[in-house]
Structure formats: structure tokens, C-alpha cells
């Protein structure tokens, strides 16, 4: 029977020649991930059930990124517990303040995920690595505990929706606009329990950073994973990062898809997801009268170098609007240094932005930019649920880095074209 790309990877990791949608399987995983919030719960379970030692000290990654640098005493205790566990188990991929970054930007950058691998993470945005042609999905802390002990995880084999991309995106349209447009069309449960498999000649027009942003938000459509084919751009990205052999999988030509969604990239406009659902999308031009109090440029969706490049290009020589706070958070230390070397950070600081060390921080309403009642933010993050960034009475508008930067300058939601037309 023909299989999708995801099904092929799962079959290989389960030691089966074939799997079909709906089948329950047990598969080996190449990496188990946890962060400073989910790992302590997994450690407690791991120890309570006396699971002994970890299955491999080189196939577990623990990243302290959510509330780190520690925002309060409770966060400090959680980090301390992770640190002690990592040390006593000799975990080689443990990332603490000073070399950490936001997990889903950090792992690909460090070469910890490669095409064809299977990864589970106790964090819902683990689906990000689909951009590399890997199967990766978010799980609970119980799964993480079991994964650390056995190197295995059980899965229900998903069916898939094919997202067929054609055309070339216009100047200010990026991965975020593609994925928000998709979620706007199929809804927040449109891909529930399914894979999103991206195909078509439009894929080649998307940078790796675009693809990471798209796979990252697969979960916002309810998907189990969102996977891209492996091409030259993927190989170039992995070169020098991934030193082990990896395998490239392709879907069978006659693989069965539940449906096909066609997206012509050349027809997309920069979009904004209005409160309080990522599916509540509108073209930026329809919401450009919304006044804002804060802009956040960062997160595992859009805190990468190309995001900062776009924002810096728009903010160069300009000033942040009065009464707007702008917080820029490079997703990893490497991105931070590159942005510094290329002068982006200087541009941001001159424009009146605050630039922070890598952290999830405001994305989940943790620290570094919490919103008060009635305040509005434009954020390059991935969720705009009630209270996500602070007070339940606050609002988050999701957008890509170009709209975020233009909005920062105008003090209201704005398109990058408006900024260009203004000259200056």
C-alpha cells in the first residue's frame, strides 16, 4: 500500500515495511526533548516509577528557555532540578543560560535533528523540525519520561492533508503569512490528528527559515506534524551542522491524502491573526487602524536571523512610535551574535527597541514583556489565545516580522508597504 512521507518515516522507525493510517505502533525515536517547564514533571515521574537510567545520554535534549534566565524563585527551582538531572545522567545536549536558545530554533541550528529522523518533545511546537524532512511531534510529560527511559514512543499513524504550493511569494510575504493563511482556511482543528505534507514547486521558493515558521505552526491547525520534502536548501542547511548519515524519504506517488489544499504563494498578502485564535486571519490592510502598545519580535516561529534582517531593514534610520514598547529577542546565541555582527541589533537599539538575551519570555506570558489589562500587542509569536501574553483582558495580533516592524514605527498595525511609501 502506498504511504505518505510521514508514514514512511514512522514505518522505518517501527521496524515495519508498511503502516496505514489509524494503526497504533511503537517506534524508536532519535531524540527526546524537554524544557524547563515540562522536564521537571517528567523527572518526577521518571524517579517515582524508578525507571533507572536514560536510554542514551546523547539522544536527550533539555533546554532551559521558557522562564530562563530564571524569572522567579519557582522557575529557579525548576531549572535547578533539570540541571541536577542532566548532570547526574550525563545528558550531553543540555543548554543553560549563556549557550541556550529557544529550543525549536536551537536544535536544528546545533544539528541535533536531521532529515528522516523521528523526534518527540514535551512541547507542542516540536513539530517545527518537519521543515528538515523529519517526523517530529509534541507529547506530554509522561511520554517524555517513558521516552527518556526506553528511546521509544507509541504513535497512532496519521493520515495526511497535502498542501500544494505554487508560485513565488511577493516581497513582504514570508513563512508566517503562508501558515497563517493556511490556518485561516482550514481552521484550528482542520488538520486534527493528521500530517500536513507540503509539496509543489512553490516549496523551492521558501527559505529554510520560512519552512521552520510554517512547520512550527502546524499544531495551530491541530496537526500532528507538518513536513517538507528535502531539497538542496535542506541539504545546504544541514551541511556542517549534521555530521551523521541521514535518510531522505519521499511520499509514494500514489499515496492517499484526505484532501489537497492548493495555495498560490504569489496571491498571498501579509496577514494578521486577530484575537483570540490563530485562524482569525485578515489581510493586514483590513486591520491597519488598530492601535498598539507593544511589539514582540522573536519566538520559535520568527526569532531567526532572516526575521531580524527583515525587521532591521524596515526600522533602519526610523524610530519606534511614541507610547509603543518594542522587544526584540534573537532566538539563539548564534543568531544574537550574527545579528550583532551584521549591525541589526544596533539598528534596533537606535530605533528605540529593547534587545533581550534568548528566551521564550513574553510569548507565553512568562516574563520580559507582560501585557496589562486592555493592552494590545503585535507579536511574531504563534498563539493569541485569551491571556496568552499577560492579562486576560489584553490582546495579541500575530504577524510576521515585516508587519511587526512597520507596526512598531506607526504605533498601529501597518503594512511594510505603508512604511516604504512614506519614504524617509
Amino acid at each position: 500500500m502506498a504511504m505518505t512521507m510521514t508514514q514512511k518515516i514512522l514505518a522505518a522507525h517501527a521496524g515495519l515495511s508498511q503502516v496505514r493510517a489509524g494503526q497504533l505502533i511503537r517506534a524508536k525515536v532519535d531524540l527526546v526533548l524537554g524544557n524547563d517547564i515540562t522536564t521537571p514533571v517528567a523527572i518526577n515521574e521518571f524517579e517515582k516509577h524508578k525507571l533507572g537510567s536514560v536510554f542514551s545520554k546523547d539522544k536527550i535534549a533539555i533546554v532551559l528557555d521558557h522562564f530562563a534566565p530564571n524569572k522567579d524563585i519557582k522557575a529557579a527551582e525548576q531549572s535547578k532540578q533539570c540541571r541536577a538531572f542532566a548532570k547526574s545522567n550525563g545528558i550531553s545536549h543540555f543548554y543553560d543560560v549563556g549557550d541556550m536558545g529557544i529550543e525549536h530554533a536551537l536544535l536544528p541550528e546545533k544539528g541535533l535533528v536531521a532529515a528522516g529522523e523521528a523526534v518527540i518533545g514535551a512541547d507542542s511546537h516540536t513539530c517545527t523540525y518537519g521543515a528538515l524532512g523529519a517526523f517530529s511531534t509534541g507529547v506530554g510529560s509522561t511520554d517524555m519520561a517513558a521516552g527518556m527511559a526506553t528511546g521509544e514512543c507509541w504513535f497512532k499513524v496519521p493520515s495526511a492533508i497535502r498542501v500544494h504550493l505554487t508560485g513565488k511569494p511577493q516581497k513582504w510575504v514570508g513563512g508566517k503569512d503562508v501558515v497563517l493563511s493556511l490556518i485561516g482556511r482550514i481552521g484550528v482543528d482542520g488538520a486534527r490528528y493528521k500530517s500536513l505534507e507540503f509539496t509543489g514547486e512553490g516549496v523551492a521558493e521558501l527559505s529554510m527559515d520560512d519552512r521552520f515558521a510554517i512547520s512550527n505552526m502546524a499544531i495551530e491547525a491541530g496537526a500532528k506534524n507538518g513536513i517538507f520534502p528535502v531539497d538542496e536548501k535542506t541539504a545546504a542547511y544541514m551541511k556542517g551542522r549534521v555530521t551523521r548519515a541521514y535518510q531522505v524519504y519521499e511520499p509514494d506517488g500514489d499515496a492517499d491524502y484526505d484532501e489537497t489544499v492548493e495555495i498560490n504563494l504569489s496571491e498571498l498578502r501579509p496577514v494578521v491573526a486577530c484575537p483570540h485564535l490563530p485562524s482569525n486571519t485578515k489581510p493586514v490592510d483590513q486591520v491597519n487602524n488598530v492601535k498598539i502598545d507593544q511589539v514582540v519580535i522573536g519566538s520559535c516561529t520568527n526569532g531567526r536571523l532572516s526575521d531580524l534582517k527583515i525587521a532591521a531593514a524596515l526600522m533602519r534610520g526610523r524610530k519606534v512610535a511614541e507610547d509603543v514598547r518594542v522587544i526584540v529577542i534573537p532566538a539563539t546565541q548564534h543568531i544574537y551574535r550574527e545579528a550583532m555582527r551584521l549591525g541589526y541589533l544596533d539598528t534596533f537599539i537606535q530605533a528605540g527597541c529593547a534587545v533581550s538575551t534568548p528566551t521564550c519570555g513574553p510569548c507565553l506570558g512568562g516574563h520580559m514583556g507582560i501585557l496589562a489589562d486592555g493592552e494590545r500587542a503585535v507579536a511574531t509569536t504563534n498563539r493569541n489565545f485569551v491571556g496568552r501574553m499577560g492579562h486576560p483582558g489584553s490582546e495579541v495580533y500575530l504577524a510576521g516580522p515585516a508587519v511587526a516592524a512597520a507596526s512598531a514605527v506607526f504605533g498601529r498595525i501597518a503594512s511594510p508597504e505603508e512604511l516604504e511609501q512614506e519614504g524617509n
Partner: protein, 160 residues
Amino acid sequence: MQANGTVFVYGDNVDTDVIIPARYLNSSDPKHLAAHCMEDLDASFAKRVHAGDIIVGGSNFGCGSSREHAPLAIKSSGISCVIAKSFARIFYRNSINIGLPILECAQAAESIRQGDEIAVNFESGVITNQTRGETYQAEPFPEFIRQIIGSDGLLNSLSK
């Protein structure tokens, strides 16, 4: 392995907030969770449920937040099995992982009525409706999932 009991029927999109409202998440004590299970959807559930009873839902059962407290509340109120047309992904994982048997079966979800007496055989996937004299076929659990459920959860099944 077999479940046997009286059915409580609920509709589509039963979310984890109605299964166990956020205001009760200040404790993960199973008795506390059971006392408030389904409260916002069916206030009398906790009083009427008996050990062994079965919940039958529509599509997307368990959607919403990923709280593991939701399947825990259902399990600790004595429910022996949940049958639905479909389950939300993380609820499905969490249920199996804590040892709550759940089965997808559209035919059963459409045919079974409130108060029916049914029996579920986890090995064969056969659901027998004793009240109506009907049977429905669900996909049976593979051996290792039966083992997880049989040992009362994923981590118990791994304990050394």
C-alpha cells in the same frame, strides 16, 4: 480485558474544560477531580456514575487544553471506557498513558443511546449493545497498548 456498564452519551467537541474546569486544577488528587468531573456539562454526572460505566461521545472528544487532569478525572470517577467518533490528539495520548481505555467507533457513537447497557471487548474490539441487541466493530488495541492499559498506565508498564 472487558468493560461492562451503563452508558452516558455526550455530543461533539466535549472539551477538557468541561471535563474538568480549570478552577479545579489546583489539585491533581483523583478524588477531588472525580467529584467535579463533567460538572459544567452534566452537573449530576458525579452523583449518578457507577464503577464500570461507559462514556460515549461524538467527534473531537477531549479537545482544548492538554491537561492530563481530564482523562484522570474520567478514570477516577469509575468510567471503564470512553467510546467516541473521534478524539483530540493529546487527549487520546494522555488517556492511554494513564491507563484509560478509549476506542474510536463511529457506528457505536451513532447508535448507542443514553442508559444502554454495553460490553466492550478490548482484545477483539467488539462492542455489544445488550439493550438493543446490536454489535459494533472498533479497531482493537494492539498488544502493547493493551499492556499499557492493563498495567494501569505507561509508566507502571515500564517500572522495574
